[in-house]
Chain length 319, copies 4
């Protein structure tokens, strides 16, 4: 039985390693997951946006969750993204995830078809009724084009529909309203920020944890930062954040493409160059980064001490 | 073998009738499809946005296509929407649709994960390689938040990747560039407009046909309009359009909700009140229209002669 | 006294010629205005978006209107843009324009400060009360980020607040609702389309005229097209539109910049190369087009017969 | 001579009190400005968005700055918004403000006409060349629809074009990149946050100060918060922020309108009810809040201790 407090602290959204044939690279996944757990992360979130969930067919999604549950083996809670277009499709994802033994589910607002707040609220209620697992709302307007309103989230928290919120809305004002309103009704929601560059402000403001994609690259610093926040050492929280923000430079100067291919493409490239992943293979239609983009990422990793200064650049996939 | 010219003229996106338990109402589907074919439509597009494709689980999508192919029985070509988030998931939809015997596929740009033009173009190339069926690009930025660029579409038409375009972009200037550019290279693409209220201007500008959601309600007028356009009777094309625009009022004054639930909700309610559908059941999380919304729709149908002036309003589902 | 019917037909938004020192080039303005009147345009719209109104200080705006009224000299009605941020500032523009003898005013929704429909409607009422001139609403959401709703426009038309609408909304469906609704209440509004590439469809749908920026370059064709529309010769209307759409290519392949600098920059460059303007000087912070951008524009002008095939390219300003 | 360090700390954007005839209420302005200076604010920003700059004609803008310079009388630096559409118009605002004796200027990116990054950068360079005063960039995409890029801002800081940035972008990630990048090149820019609800996180992240609209209502708490931040007392910084966030509720439940009229309308109503302003008069086309909206605001003020619990509600303007 997972304790409600289990979903606090550092919860990296796990990047999904792929082989050249687009199948799951379980060996790399195991290496990365074990490294994050060893670093002290509090939980792991599989099949989030950074996990390429949008790109993976249902069968591959199932393989990811099976491998996740097996590798994690109860050491930390496993959260699973159940990302699909509208309610009944999301519920099918929920049932598959639940049957594979995950500990909590994470769902966005519905997307593609235009709706209003009525439909969004009913969507989360429908999903909750269809599962016995704790349900997190994933606030991600850049992908689903709906901002989840704090009042609705808090109401669903009070009623037991939602266990928490993963906020990647980029709206720090709304995030603060959510934290304050949640506290006013007894803190039913676990509120996690998804913005790895401003975790310090989120912690100071009262967030219960973070879901940092960059935590795949440097889980140690995010764990150290969370511990400093728990200890009230705010200058340390801020100093660690600045270091992590500089590391985030790996994603900021990609030339070959934009958006997801630049962001997660850089994460995968870093993990590959650091020897954690076997390749930086991406899922169709996104192409892996190459050439100068790889070189720039390696330069940042060396500058920030994540790779030895003398390490050679891997120019092509190993396997 | 479907002729290239088959995808011209009036191609209604078929509204999907559901039973109260959310299963497919085959009886209503048969009535509606037969009515449209009897009216003289040139093809039928199943699992479009108006067909609630976003809401339907894969198993229900398969049932829709099976029923579609069976009911249509070769009388007109069957186009099938293969709507999913990213490429590999769309390809799975394509394979299911192809195995069920449809005649052409319709895919949007990828959505949810942010990308750039490189990824959009590769997406359509990947889908084309995975199927032997004609492929249409569905330009629907209001749902997928990417506008398909005319230059790319024409290039993919010339190379045989795309058979045509269903344009619901709401960008009539871009639509004109598409038509003109397509003509300059020999008209490889069949270009259909999805905006049922301005079909007259699209035909005058050179569109090859239309995909009018409102064609579910009044297929006769859209067929009459297409015939008038073929005959060069532009005043008639315009007059019919004005009548159809007035009929479109059924969607414009819904109070209970917004977006899809108002638009397709009104279509379903009209089909129910006209006796073509057994219910106006919607898919979760959208609720069927009721009360005054139904009354307003009936008033428009009577005003426009689609229902007898004395017909009573059906106050609840029949079955 | 200007007749209500005066604001129909072809009403080019006049491009404002500037000298190298950013002052008004009256000589070029006179040449261009006379050419458009000789071509048979029905009215002229000064200080529209194409007239660089956003860039011009109040004193220069006054010079433009003074020169406009003087040059036009009653041959056609003069419409004047009164573009400013919020109501009281717009009213000051209205008073300046009225004092300079223009025949009608054109105002957008307020911009910069966020508001709702109440404020937009009150804005137009306030302006109307402050002037005795006919007032047109300029629907330009790409610049002011508010779409004017057909119902509000028609209500203001019926009440005599608005004389008409210049629609550059890019929303052809809403434009059709506007036309149909306006007709249902007796046609109080003169409705003009600002989209020069799809004027044919707008005329077929019932528009009262057009405000084509490209009419600065080829007023003759727009006049010919309007006459064909009045005569019901729709194939001619369409054929002329296709030719004008190809001419619009001058704006579509600019490399040096984007947006306004590409669009109006191309118009000015064409007018300069055709010998109508003395320069293609733009207003700060926009830079005039040069080099290959000029060459591409000249190539289109020659291809479409607006310049002699053998004419040399003007490589720099003449004066 | 204003020291570079003068533009740090708490810099409220001054709300502009108006009389019922829309003229400047100098008496109320004096009361409010003196109260903020007495509370210990570090500078004052007149003619910002909260100061209704978008609504005020040039003559009224001049009156505001004249009164501001006279009332402040050198006690703190006076910053002045020079908000207009495009560069030459902004420069005219700059010259008027400079002639009236202000200490620094604040300009947004150009708006209305579409442009690209070239034009934005040239815009700030042009303004800088036209004035001898320190220039701040005002990053306000919600109003001007352009996000200022950190790299450009830092480059303009290094070159002496910009003295600082007032960030109201709502993009806390970009804000962090700006702070970090600015520090890396020697901190040429003074970086102020405009988001009054998350100042604590901004201070922890390294902001040089804040521009809180809510500082008009409770300047004491913002000053206390800044002093706590300077002393490194982060728990106090956070606790004060939570209190201020609850006070911000005055803006969150307005029923009569949306956007600016709700936000600044609530500020004015609070200042009126607290006896600092004589009225809550707004500028056309925005209407002052009334009835239940006033009651709700008063209830929040009482709950947060800004008004005595027993104070009666002012039901109408005093004068």
């Amino acid at each position: 039985m997972i304790d409600n407090k289990a979903f606090r602290g550092v919860v990296p959204p796990v990047v999904t390693p792929l082989k050249a044939d687009h199948s799951l690279d379980v060996e790399s996944l195991e290496r990365s997951v074990n490294r994050m757990i060893d670093a002290g992360v509090d939980a792991l979130f599989f099949l989030g946006s950074s996990g390429e969930v949008a790109f993976l067919p249902d069968s591959l999604r199932a393989q990811v969750l099976e491998a996740a549950v097996s590798i994690v083996d109860g050491r930390v809670p496993v959260m699973a993204g159940i990302i699909d277009i509208e309610t009944l499709r999301v519920i099918e994802q929920a049932k598959q995830a639940e049957s594979l033994g995950v500990d909590a589910l994470v769902a966005t607002a519905p997307f593609y078809a235009l709706g209003g707040p009525k439909e969004v609220e009913r969507h989360f209620r429908d999903i909750h009724e269809a599962t016995s697992l704790p349900l997190f709302a994933y606030d991600l307007p850049i992908c689903v084009h709906t901002k989840l309103q704090p009042d609705m989230l808090i109401r669903l928290g009070e009623e037991g529909v939602l266990q928490g919120v993963k906020d990647s809305s980029g709206d720090d004002v709304s995030f603060r309203w959510l934290i304050i309103g949640n506290n006013e009704v007894g803190h039913p929601l676990q509120i996690l920020t998804g913005h790895e560059v401003v975790v310090d402000g989120a912690y100071l403001g009262g967030a219960d944890g973070s879901v940092p994609g960059l935590g795949n690259i440097d889980p140690y610093s995010y764990v150290e930062q969370w511990q400093a926040a728990q200890a009230g050492d705010w200058p340390a929280v801020k100093t660690i954040q600045d270091r992590l923000a500089r590391l985030m430079d790996i994603t900021r100067h990609v030339k070959a493409t934009v958006g997801f291919g630049a962001g997660v493409g850089a994460f995968k490239t870093a993990l590959w160059q650091m020897g954690i992943f076997n390749t930086n293979q991406m899922s169709e239609p996104v192409q892996a980064l190459t050439g100068e983009d790889v070189e720039r990422i390696v330069a940042v990793l060396k500058r920030e001490g994540l790779m030895e200064a003398a390490a050679p650049i891997k120019a092509s996939f190993e396997g």
